[in-house]
């Protein structure tokens, strides 16, 4: 019963994630209007037939901005995940594989990065690179590298003395091939779980930085920045705050459900790290 319920939640997560992907990819066709076309005669209009969610402080169609925001957020998630996954796994594998000094140095670096709460680390990096959407993606990705480095290293260490890996070695398989053909496929499960959870965190962190004014700059339609722009109108036009926030909540819930479901389904038990 518990397993069935969990699988159900995971399927809900998967469906939501697929739906969000469709919205992100089809944004130009789904959005009823140009998300950046402002019309100062139509400022903060309530929900109506012409504007299904009303309009914002610059008279832009809110629904269109939320739809395009999906595209922004999914792109953020994908870019952040791509960078963090590749860089983190590479660091973790190198540390675990080489051992000795390389392991010590790399893992101490990871320790230093983990000293900072991830949103503050991301802020620090944005401080150096300057505000903006691209820099936020880099910053959030770097702050996520330690998670994948730890997982990569832990998985590698637990696999390297397994019989099938030693057999591959004994047969004279080159190191690179052992890593790519034997170790990597067996570490996919924990990495997949963490990837789904990171997607949620990345979208939330980027939205948070956007809310602080450090992320996406106007007029880019990004949920966090939209919340920051409309918070002053909160009482007059609550929809302006409700819609982007619900969008963030829905997206992060979807990826968290999917990640939790994957963890149960793939039966991932991570070594404590």
């Amino acid at each position: 019963m518990a397993r069935l319920r969990r699988n159900l939640l995971a399927i809900v997560g998967l469906l939501l994630v697929s739906g969000l992907l469709v919205v992100a990819l089809a944004a130009p066709w789904l959005a009823p209007a140009d998300p950046n076309a402002s019309n100062l005669d139509e400022v903060m209009r309530p929900v109506s037939g012409a504007h299904l969610l009303g309009t914002d402080g610059l008279g832009r169609d809110l629904l269109s901005r939320v739809v395009w925001g999906t595209r922004t957020s999914m792109a953020i998630g994908a870019v952040v995940l791509g960078i963090a996954l590749v860089a983190g796994t590479a660091v973790g594998f190198s540390a675990g594989w080489c051992g000795g000094v390389v392991d010590d140095v790399l893992m101490r670096l990871v320790d230093v990065l983990m000293t900072f709460p991830s949103i503050l680390l991301a802020m620090a990096i944005v401080a150096a690179l300057g505000p903006g959407l691209a820099n936020v993606m880099i910053a959030v990705a770097v702050s996520a590298v330690p998670r994948f480095a730890r997982i990569g290293r832990a998985v590698l260490l637990s696999l390297r003395h397994q019989t099938f890996v030693e057999a591959a070695w004994a047969l004279g398989t080159p190191d690179v091939r052992v890593l790519s053909r034997h170790i990597l496929p067996n570490s996919l499960a924990p990495l997949a779980v963490q990837s789904s959870l990171l997607f949620a965190t990345a979208i939330q962190s980027a939205a948070g930085l956007g809310f602080l004014g450090l992320g996406a700059q106007p007029p880019i339609a990004e949920w966090g920045a939209m919340l920051a722009e409309s918070r002053v109108h909160m009482r007059v036009a609550p929809m302006l705050v409700a819609a982007p926030g619900l969008a963030i909540l829905l997206t992060t819930t979807a990826f968290n459900l999917l990640g939790d479901g994957l963890r149960d389904f793939l039966d991932v038990r991570l070594p404590a790290s």
Binding site: L109, V112, M123, L212, L227, V241, I248
Partner: protein, 306 residues
Amino acid sequence: MVRFVIRRLVALLPVALGASLAAFLLLHLVPGDPAEVIAGVGASAVDIDRIRGQLGLDRPVLVQYARWLGRATIGDLGISLVSRQPVLGQVAARFANTLALTLAGMAVALAIGLATGIGSALHRGTVWDYAFSLVAILGVSIPTFWLGLLLMLWFALDLAWLPATGMDGPAAFVLPALTLGLNAAALVARITRSSVLDVLGQDFVRTAHAKGAGPTRVLWIHVLRNGAIPILTVLALQFGYLLGGAVLTETVFVWPGLGRLLTDAILQRDFPVIQGGILVIALAMILLNLVTDVLYAVVDPRIRYE
């Protein structure tokens, strides 16, 4: 125990040095000439030179780091480029406010998280348990700053029960602490539930029941003490997370904390303040790790002898 603390302290020293180096090097990650970036667009060559001299940017990086670290150890974090005030004073005052908010949030997370976690573990499989796991997933996913805006809209603006902004008096703590703590409460509840469930299945719990210990005694003395390590780990992680989340909560509630100071400093490219703020946070986190290690050793004496 003293030896244990000293050993942990020594082990944390390299991490502290690394963190200070990271905070320092931030300025040198800036694309281009930091002096030009700080001076801003349209600054004259004289201004740029003055900033370069003022910050010692004309010296080798290693010398700069040594000087910065040397001064930092005696409490001199430099002068803010914007307010012209010593950084340490500014950062210290703001950090105290952030810490107060974080502790209040932690209290919320602990109270709600432990109660619901233990409750749903003891009533496993009931409707309450299911409802709770759904709420917990939503609680983990809800963006802090959005929750803050909603709470502010309902309880401060519409109902006018509580102040919307500032930090005057205990009432002003309620909304920011709830905003900050609810997220963490969901995580604490999840780990408490699974940790208590783990321990409930152990032989010694059955033995305790069998020898006639009352349910309250079994829960507090046998179950919670043995389930405490994972809960402590999550609490320590959450503390850092709350310290980070405080940045967003502070912005929503106009709380005069370190996060707000840092955000403003980043937007104004006030590097001495950024570096000082980051350094203070890193040191606080390292201290927190030490406290966690010591708490582990208190809860589980086996750890002391490893």
